[in-house]
């Protein structure tokens, strides 16, 4: 019944290419072959109708850069897989989409909204390589 410990969500084939990318230290996003629209995570183009099974979208190398859109600083532990303090944040990527992540590489109290950040890859206990972000 208890589900503490580091989460191991089962990702389906839609997200596999993303994690294959992070394993190679590459930050991939979906990009429309027709118009260049970026999406993350897996998802279609919003500029026009999509092809069958989103065939117009392609996992592509992205900048891995962005800025902090909003954040909170965890002070009370809710799961001992995540020692406090840590920064939970939404980063707005340069390509447009947002991603839930952690800000690392600086003191939590130094994080600011709109602060420019860049991706770092960290091995997680569940065997995946996760994208976190640090100040530029």
């Amino acid at each position: 019944m208890s589900n503490f410990g580091f989460p191991s969500p089962q990702f389906n084939e839609d997200m596999q290419p993303f994690f294959e990318g992070t394993a190679q230290r590459k930050f991939k996003m979906m990009r429309c072959r027709q118009c260049g629209f970026w999406n993350w995570p897996y998802g279609g183009c919003r500029n026009h109708d999509n092809e069958a099974y989103l065939a117009n979208m392609e996992w592509s190398d992205a900048s891995g850069r962005g800025k902090v859109h909003s954040f909170t600083i965890a002070r009370v532990p809710f799961n001992d897989a995540f020692p406090v303090p840590y920064v939970y944040a939404i980063v707005e990527l340069d390509e447009g989409p947002i991603i839930p992540t952690n800000i690392v590489g600086c003191a939590p109290e130094d994080v600011r909204i709109d602060m420019p950040v860049t991706v770092v890859f960290e091995d997680a206990p569940n065997g995946l390589v996760l994208p976190r972000f640090k100040p530029v």
């Binding site: 019944m1 969500p9 954040f71 909170t72 600083i73 965890a74 002070r75 009370v76 799961n79 947002i98």
Partner: protein
């Protein structure tokens, strides 16, 4: 023909150890049927107001409260809803059953055992109510927690509009004042000051403990029927005059608005249009208040003030709380009474329209609104739902 709430059943709330979710749902249904002056044999439709979120007993299950109570229902539906909006979806389904003539009396019941569950985990040295990690959910790997991702709204609002923690604290204080007038509220008898709010521990900055809702055990049920049948029930009917929904799916990430607003406009406009009302007609508002910022975003989103003006509004003298101009969360809400999702907001709206609020009753309530919120997809607030219900004394 309109649909009416004719029965309301509320079990013990707060700490109710030793009662399963199913038994709490069963008891609330029994009380609601009794409140309507009906017999259990009259009930021919049942809906369980529960979301899958949370796992364990909140997941889909084989057993059902109508079986336990022996209700001869020809329709039973479990687990409506994505989060704290399930009453709106349950009532919409009930209305279909009634208006199509499939059922005559529908009971909607919902329970939680969050307090008892959290105690079990605290004994094991853990915190919170753990939930099953959803397939493909990305944010839990980043340590997202309810205060952690709901707090994103607070940080963003502070950044954009200069809102302060003290201003958010005014909402907590006002709702505690309401709770102190409600003997059924868990925090009745425990008033707080703004200094108490500021001195309470920081759980996930910028949220203090007193920005965060309660965890509760308990259940509440409603009996719904058609306007004509409602004439024969024990109490005056409460009309379900409007139901509306809004989704962050309407804008997704590109508008970058998720963290400074809730998808209120379509929910509000749909419900208000059906009911033929404007904000001026609303006598009491029962806002879904899982955290303080959600309340501020609703004061702004429903139009009590402009976007970004919520901070100034809540700290202006005479605006909020029992003596204030805007009457909201009159039972204390999720913050200070009990947390059964938007069952809490809808039950308080029914109580106010029926004038059964005792010391906390707002005089002459003709129109009450009750909202719901939740259902995060992928990450907190990435796609959330908002529901608005309008409950009225007259048809």
């Amino acid at each position: 023909m309109k649909t009416c709430v004719v029965g309301l059943g509320i079990t013990e709330l707060g700490h109710v150890p030793g009662k399963s979710i199913l038994m709490l749902e069963t008891e609330a249904a029994r009380l609601a049927i009794q409140d309507a002056g009906l017999r259990e044999a009259d009930i021919d439709g049942a809906i369980q107001m529960k979301s899958d979120i949370g796992g364990g007993m909140r997941m889909r299950q084989d057993d059902a409260f109508p079986r336990i109570l022996g209700l001869p229902v020809k329709f039973y539906m479990e687990n409506v809803g994505r989060g704290g909006e399930n009453v709106a979806k349950a009532f919409m389904m009930a209305e279909q059953l009634l208006q199509r003539g499939i059922c005559s009396y529908v009971v909607c019941s919902g329970a939680r055992d969050d307090w008892s569950r959290s105690r079990k985990f605290k004994k094991a040295g853990r915190r919170g109510t753990p939930y099953i990690h959803k397939e493909g959910a990305f944010a839990p790997m980043m340590g997202d927690s309810p205060p952690g991702f709901h707090g994103l709204l607070a940080t963003r609002h502070m950044h954009l509009f200069g809102t302060t923690s003290r201003q958010l604290g005014q909402i907590a204080v006002a709702q505690r004042d309401w709770a102190c007038l409600n003997p059924a509220a868990f925090m009745c008898g425990h008033p707080i000051t703004i200094e108490d709010h500021q001195n309470s521990p920081i759980v996930a900055w910028p949220y203090h403990l007193l920005d965060i809702c309660l965890q509760s055990d308990g259940a509440t049920a409603f009996v719904l029927t058609t306007e004509d049948r409602a004439k024969d029930t024990k109490k005056a009917p409460v009309y379900v005059s409007g139901i509306g929904f809004g989704e962050h799916l309407q804008s997704l990430y590109w508008d970058k608005k998720h963290y400074s607003m809730l998808p209120i406009p379509t929910a509000r406009d749909g419900a208000f249009r059906q009911a033929g009302i404007t904000l001026d007609d609303v006598d009491v508002a029962e806002f879904y208040d899982c955290f303080t910022t959600e309340v501020m975003l609703q004061l702004e989103g429903y139009g009590y003030c402009g976007v970004g003006e919520g901070g100034a509004l809540v700290e202006a003298p005479g605006m909020i709380g029992p003596g204030g101009k805007i009457k909201f969360n009159t039972g204390g809400g999720l913050l200070s009474s009990h947390h059964l999702g938007n069952i809490t907001t809808v039950s308080e709206a029914v109580i106010q329209v029926r004038s059964e609020g005792g010391k906390r009753q707002v005089p002459d309530v003709e129109v009450a609104i009750a909202s719901g919120h939740g259902g995060e997809i992928l990450a907190g607030q990435m796609c959330s739902i908002h529901s608005t219900m309008v409950l009225t004394r007259g048809g």
